[in-house]
């Protein structure tokens, strides 16, 4: 290192290259650290930690914004658990998470395996497949989706070829949620890019050795590719399922602003929005929010616990 050679020019003797040693230096570093961090610290206290505590308090009150919050104990929670619309919103959200996340990740992994092969145009395909992830959340695409899944539009016509005569999915309570699922799957590009980055890091020698031992493509996938990209798979499962729990815009725009028809797309966030901002039941909405936080924390904990069993980290292999 060039630095070590320069250091003796200073009178400090055995001191490290950077003059931070000493109590005064360390105090100055602490001060600098917290000064640089101050926007984040302010943001964390004012916009994250403080609101979380306030929200926890509201969850045990009746609060309509105009009169001060009134303590009601567990009332919000007992009403919530018995509320049929809340139960419906849990059902809709779980269905959405459980159907959309695996299908999206399966497609993302499949296409990533395809694109991992070096071929002409590979970069262009990668870019094109990623684009929906950037525009998928916009109101514009929501409108397009609404049109594509209406009566006599492309989806309706295609399903008729296969003898499925249910009409457009948008007005149909049994199908409309799957239009939202399709919108989520269409945005497979973001997890695909992460899979691709993971695939690039798998050492090529492993495949060559396996091929020499006579392992076919399927065996190579199960015994090499999958274990080697399991950390990336874990990351994608975690992120995508947490995102899926929080879906709102597509339900509000694609179906209708009541998240209907017949509450068929009443995802959790949509009901929370209605309770908080349409009915000004801030206490009830806060109770809903905290219930979701606990649910997401549980899912996260289970995923982290399960990764010991199926996620393979390179350090462990050595």
């Amino acid at each position: 290192m060039t630095l070590v050679k320069e250091a003796p020019a200073r009178p400090a003797g055995k001191r490290s290259a950077v003059p931070v040693a000493g109590r005064r230096g360390r105090r100055r570093e602490n001060l600098a650290g917290y000064l640089f961090m101050s926007p984040w610290i302010a943001g964390f206290l004012l916009l994250t930690a403080g609101p979380m505590i306030a929200s926890l308090y509201y969850a045990f009150t009746s609060y309509n914004l105009f009169t001060p919050p009134r303590w009601v104990g567990l009332d919000n929670f007992t009403t919530m658990f018995q509320d049929p619309r809340w139960q419906k919103s849990v059902e809709v959200t779980l269905k959405y998470v459980v159907v959309a996340t695996p299908l999206k990740l399966l497609l993302a992994l499949g296409v990533a395996l395809l694109l991992a092969q070096k071929r002409r145009g590979q970069g262009l395909y990668r870019a094109a497949f990623y684009m929906p992830s950037l525009i998928g959340a916009s109101v514009s695409v929501g409108f397009v989706w609404r049109a594509l899944f209406s009566d006599d539009a492309i989806v309706d016509r295609t399903q008729k070829i296969f003898g499925l005569d249910v009409g457009g999915w948008i007005g149909n309570p049994d199908y409309v949620l799957y239009a939202l699922v399709a919108l989520s799957i269409w945005q497979f590009g973001a997890p695909m890019v992460i899979f691709l980055a993971g695939l690039k890091q798998v050492p090529q020698e492993l495949y060559e050795a396996a091929e020499m031992d006579g392992a076919g493509p399927v065996r190579r996938f199960w015994n090499i590719t999958l274990p080697m990209i399991s950390p990336v798979l874990f990351f994608n499962v975690l992120l995508e399922s947490i995102h899926a729990f929080q879906v709102f815009g597509s339900a509000y725009v694609v179906s209708d602003t009541r998240c209907g028809p017949a509450d068929a797309t009443l995802v959790y966030t949509c009901y929370l929005y209605q309770k908080g901002f349409k009915e000004a039941q801030m206490g009830f909405a806060s109770a809903m929010a905290w219930t979701l936080v606990v649910a997401v924390a549980l899912v996260t904990a289970v995923l982290f616990w399960s990764q010991k069993k199926w996620v393979h980290y390179e350090e462990a292999a050595k």
């Binding site: 320069e6 984040w40 943001g43 525009i135 514009s140 409108f143 397009v144 936080v293």
Partner: protein, 290 residues
């Protein structure tokens, strides 16, 4: 290596060519599904309103401009350009806030050794997984008490306070990858942290800054829930809310204009993507790996 004339090599070559055709067929099939909605909206905005949903043709047989000229009338007395200006203001402020505050915070995490750094870093990563719902109501109550409802402040305040942990994380990862020798040499020359941050680290971080800036711009441009909750006056509406006004207030005759405005609203995002796709995709990829 076998020579090209040997029969073994020829079958291998043929097999490779066959694989190549299958690869391109597969990739093109996915491409068709991915691009269909985008081409559809492009074609639909040039069709007469009544043909948009039900016509089989992807592109119009006789393109009409009526949908775009209809946009000039605005909606409910508000001109379309007002929505676009509001979205632009929001997005530009968001970009300035995120780039400035996230890079300052990231510098502290990556380059300064201070007490409690690891604990704060863990806290920051923790906020990445926190569902934003739990903040929705109390933040609204807070901004309402401060009488900031119906302004852009609630939408951009968090951006100036580095609340978007993803971008802080992205920049920390990038700064940690910079050679230590550079800032150590600068410190020996007597540079303070502010000088090092501004003159050495920031210029070297350009790729990470560009990635964060573009993502922030696109997220703000697409943002729907934030404006829906905080903006009440139609003249302050962003493009997302303007589009919803079209849907809620106009009859089927203006359906074409609604689709045309949807297309116009997508143009900045797609243009940014085409210009910077490498930054965006590489930024996404590294976030998943480390």
């Amino acid at each position: 290596m076998t020579t090209a004339t040997s029969p073994v090599a020829r079958t291998a070559n043929e097999r490779r060519r066959g694989g190549s055709i299958a690869w391109h067929v597969g990739a093109l099939a996915v491409l068709a599904v991915v691009l269909y909605p985008v081409i559809w909206v492009l074609g639909a905005s040039f069709k007469p309103s009544k043909d948009i949903v039900a016509s089989i043709d992807l592109l119009p047989t006789e393109p009409v401009w009526a949908n775009f000229s209809g946009l000039a009338d605005g909606i409910s007395g508000i001109s379309i350009s007002s929505f676009f200006m509001n979205s632009l203001t929001y997005a530009v402020l968001a970009v300035a806030g995120v780039v400035l505050s996230s890079s300052l915070t990231a510098y502290a995490f990556a380059k300064i050794r201070f007490a409690g750094r690891n604990l704060l870093f863990t806290l920051m990563i923790g906020t990445l997984l926190l569902p934003y719902h739990v903040l929705l109501i109390p933040q609204y109550v807070l901004f309402r008490k401060l009488e900031l409802i119906d302004t852009l402040v609630p939408l951009v305040a968090g951006k100036f306070l580095a609340v978007e942990a993803f971008f802080v994380f992205l920049m920390v990862q990038f700064m940690r990858g910079l050679p230590r020798e550079l800032d150590e040499a600068a410190r020996l020359d007597g540079c303070g942290h502010l000088r090092i941050y501004w003159s050495i680290v920031l210029p070297l971080c350009r790729p990470a800054l560009i990635t964060s800036a573009i993502f922030t711009f696109i997220n703000a441009w697409n943002d729907f829930m934030g404006p829906l909750i905080y903006l009440n006056t139609p003249s302050k509406y962003t493009v997302s809310l303007g589009l919803m006004m079209f849907r809620d207030q106009e009859g089927i005759s203006d359906y074409g204009s609604m689709i045309a405005m949807s297309l116009v609203a997508l143009v900045p995002v797609i243009a940014f993507f085409m210009a910077f796709q490498r930054y965006l995709i590489d930024g996404m990829a590294t976030s998943g790996l480390k």
